[in-house]
C-alpha cells in the first residue's frame, strides 16, 4: 500500500491523499468526501481506516479536503458552499481520470459528505457507485412510531429529555447574557434540502444509469428509525436491485466507538468487494474485526428486495 499526498483541481487548491494498492489495482476508485468542517481523516479517522482497508484489498481510495476545509484553499468562483463542494468532487474525478486513468468512480461520504456525494453522482455520469452514511432520507409515518415508542417507556429517555431541555434553557440564558454560542459550524450546511419528489426523481435517475448504492443509516442520526424506512420513503422508485440499505440502530452518527467503526469498515469493504472489486475480500477488515472480537458480517443480499425486514447485523438487532 502507498499513501501519496497530492494537490489538484483549479489553482491546485484541493489537497488529498491517494491510497493505492501495492500490487494489482482495480480501475475503480473510491472518493471520500469530508463531512461539515471535519477534514480528510474523517471523524475519528474513519476515512483513513476505510481508505487503507480498501487499498489493501486492491481498490484505490482518495480522501481530500473540500474547498475551505483543512489544507484545501477556498473556492473563489462565488458558488455557494454546497455547489462548490460538488465542483470540488467533479474536479477530483477529472484529475483521477487524467492523471491515473481511472474510469469508474464511487463516491462516499458521511452526513453532509453523503449529500455532496449524492449531488455529485446526479451531476457526473462517470460515477458508478455511491456509499451514503446518513445521507438523504425522508421521515415516514412509521418513522415516528419506531422513533418515539421506545422513548415513551424509557425512564432514561425521559431523564435525558429533561436534561436536554435544561441544557437548551441554560444555553438560551447564556445567549441573553451576551455569551455567543460556538455554533458557527452549524451555519455551514444550513438551509432546506431537496424535497421528497426531487429525491425520488434523482434516485430514479441514478438507478437508470445503473449507479449502485449503499445507503447506511445510524440510529443516532435521528432521521431513520427502522430498517425499511428508506424503502418506504421512496416506495414509488424502482431501485432495480441497485440499492442496498443498512440500518445500524445502536451506532451514533459519527461512529465514535472504535468497535462501531470496525463494523462499518467491514460492511463497506464487503460491499465494495461484492460489487466492484475483482480481488479477494479484504482481509485487513476481517482481521481487525476478528482482533476486536466481532462476529463476521453476513454476506450481502444482492438487492434491496432481498433484504429481510429485520436483520441481525454484527450482533445488533435492527428495529422495524
Amino acid at each position: 500500500m502507498n499513501e501519496q499526498l497530492h494537490r489538484f483541481g483549479a489553482d491546485a487548491r484541493l489537497c488529498g491523499i491517494l491510497h493505492t494498492p501495492a500490487g494489482n489495482s482495480s480501475r475503480t476508485v473510491v472518493i471520500f468526501i469530508t463531512a461539515g468542517l471535519l477534514h480528510k481523516p474523517g471523524p475519528f479517522r474513519l476515512y483513513v481506516e476505510l481508505s487503507r482497508t480498501l487499498a489493501a484489498a486492491g481498490t484505490p481510495a482518495l480522501r481530500f479536503d473540500l474547498s475551505g476545509i483543512g489544507e484545501s484553499g477556498r473556492c473563489t468562483s462565488g458558488e455557494s458552499a454546497e455547489q462548490a463542494a460538488v465542483t470540488d468532487v467533479c474536479e477530483a474525478i477529472d484529475w483521477l481520470n487524467a492523471e491515473f486513468g481511472f474510469r469508474r468512480f464511487i463516491l462516499a461520504g458521511l452526513c453532509s459528505g453523503a449529500e455532496v456525494a449524492h449531488r455529485a453522482a446526479v451531476k457526473d455520469e462517470r460515477v458508478c457507485g455511491m456509499i451514503a452514511m446518513d445521507g438523504y432520507i425522508v421521515r415516514t409515518p412509521a418513522y415516528y412510531w419506531w422513533h418515539y415508542l421506545p422513548r415513551v417507556f424509557s425512564l432514561s429517555k425521559w431523564l435525558d429529555f429533561a436534561g436536554g431541555w435544561l441544557h437548551r434553557l441554560l444555553a438560551r440564558t447564556a445567549l441573553a447574557n451576551g455569551i455567543a454560542p460556538e455554533d458557527e459550524a452549524l451555519a455551514f450546511w444550513e438551509g432546506p434540502g431537496p424535497d421528497r419528489s426531487q429525491l425520488a426523481a434523482e434516485f430514479t435517475s441514478l438507478c437508470d444509469r445503473r449507479v449502485r448504492q449503499l445507503q447506511i443509516f445510524s440510529g443516532g442520526s435521528g432521521d431513520c428509525s427502522y430498517q425499511r424506512q428508506f424503502h418506504d420513503a421512496f416506495h414509488d422508485v424502482d431501485f432495480n436491485g441497485l440499492v442496498d440499505v443498512r440500518f445500524l440502530a445502536e451506532t451514533d452518527h459519527v461512529y465514535v466507538l472504535h468497535a462501531d467503526r470496525l463494523r462499518l469498515v467491514q460492511l463497506i469493504a464487503d460491499w465494495i468487494s461484492e460489487h466492484f472489486s475483482v480481488f479477494a475480500v479484504p482481509e485487513r477488515a476481517r482481521t481487525s474485526a476478528r482482533q476486536a472480537g466481532l462476529p463476521e458480517e453476513p454476506a450481502f443480499p444482492s438487492s434491496l428486495s432481498n433484504v429481510p425486514h429485520s436483520i441481525k447485523l454484527a450482533g445488533r438487532r435492527n428495529v422495524e
Binding site: E182, H258, A259
Partner: protein, 267 residues
C-alpha cells in the same frame, strides 16, 4: 493562505506536516511549531490551528502544523506508547522546520495536551524563545479522570445513541473513540504541574478559558522562572460537556490574543 503539506520520515513512519510560509516580505527569525491535542480534542481544535497558523504567517512567522504518528493524516494506526516518543516527534518537527526555513529561534504552542507537550518539549529543544499555551493541562491524573468521566457520560448519552452502550462495547484503553496505550496512560497519570514549570527565560503566552481550572496550578509555577502573559477569557469550550465533543472550536478572540502576544515578544 499558502500551505505546503508534505509527508516526512521513512515509509511506514511518515508524518503529515503542513508548513504555512510567511505572507510578508519581512520574515521573522522565530519559527512556530503547533502541537495538537490528543483524541477527540484534535478534531475540535483543528480548524482553530489552521486559523492560528494562517494569522501567524500573515505576521511573518513560518509555522508548522503536524499530525502525530498514528493520528490525523500521518501513517500508523494508534498513538505513541511512551510520552517520550511524543516529545521526540516534536523535536523532529522542529528540526524539519529549521531545515526548510531560515529560523534561529523557535516558538512552540498548542491547545490542551498539545500545550502540555509544548511545555515538556521546550525543556529539551534549543532556542525556544516563546510558548503559546491555550487551555493547557497541568495534571495528568486529573485529565484521565476527566476523560473517564466524559467517556462514561458518552456511553449513556441518549441524544447520541438510541440506547445506552456498555463498557464492553469499547476497546481496551478507549476514551471518546481514541485508544491510548496502557504505558502512556501510566506516564500521563504521573504528570504533575511542577514538572511543567521548569522553563527559564522564556516568554509564555497563556490563554485560559472558562470551565477549565488546570491553568491556576500552572500560572504560579511558570511565573517564577519565565515571563508569563496570561489572559483569562469568558469563553467556555465545554471540554467536560458530552454534547459538545464534536463541536469545532472557533474563537477569533483567543487566536487574536495569541498572535498579537507572540508578535510583541518574538523576533
Amino acid at each position: 493562505m499558502l500551505i505546503e503539506s508534505f509527508h516526512s520520515g521513512s515509509h511506514g513512519q511518515r508524518r503529515y506536516c503542513s508548513l504555512h510560509r510567511p505572507l510578508t516580505r519581512l520574515v521573522r527569525s522565530t519559527g512556530v511549531v503547533l502541537c495538537y491535542p490528543l483524541g477527540h480534542e484534535y478534531y475540535r481544535a483543528h480548524r482553530s490551528y489552521v486559523k492560528l497558523a494562517d494569522q501567524l504567517a500573515r505576521l511573518g512567522f513560518p509555522v508548522m502544523r503536524f499530525d502525530y504518528f498514528g493520528s490525523g493524516d500521518s501513517e500508523g494506526e494508534c498513538g505513541h506508547e511512551r510520552l517520550e516518543d511524543w516529545l521526540h516527534e516534536i523535536a523532529e518537527v522542529v528540526e524539519e522546520l529549521r531545515s526548510r526555513e531560515p529560523v534561529s529561534g523557535i516558538a512552540l504552542g498548542g491547545m490542551r495536551f498539545g500545550a502540555t507537550l509544548s511545555l515538556l518539549a521546550a525543556q529539551r529543544i534549543d532556542s525556544v524563545r516563546a510558548l503559546m499555551l491555550w487551555d493547557p493541562l497541568a495534571e495528568g491524573s486529573r485529565y484521565i479522570d476527566e476523560l473517564q468521566h466524559l467517556h462514561g457520560r458518552l456511553l449513556n448519552d441518549l441524544e447520541r445513541f438510541a440506547r445506552p452502550r456498555r463498557a464492553e462495547d469499547c476497546s481496551e484503553g478507549e476514551f471518546i473513540g481514541t485508544r491510548y496505550g496502557s504505558r502512556f496512560l501510566r506516564e500521563l497519570a504521573a504528570l504533575r504541574p511542577d514538572a511543567l514549570c521548569t522553563i527559564d527565560d522564556t516568554d509564555i503566552v497563556l490563554v485560559g478559558t472558562r470551565g477549565t481550572d488546570h491553568c491556576e496550578a500552572l500560572t504560579d509555577g511558570l511565573r517564577k522562572h519565565a515571563r508569563l502573559h496570561a489572559v483569562a477569557t469568558s469563553r467556555d469550550y465545554g471540554w467536560q460537556d458530552v454534547h459538545r465533543i464534536g463541536e469545532t472550536i472557533m474563537d477569533p478572540d483567543a487566536v487574536r490574543h495569541l498572535t498579537s502576544s507572540l508578535n510583541s515578544v518574538a523576533a
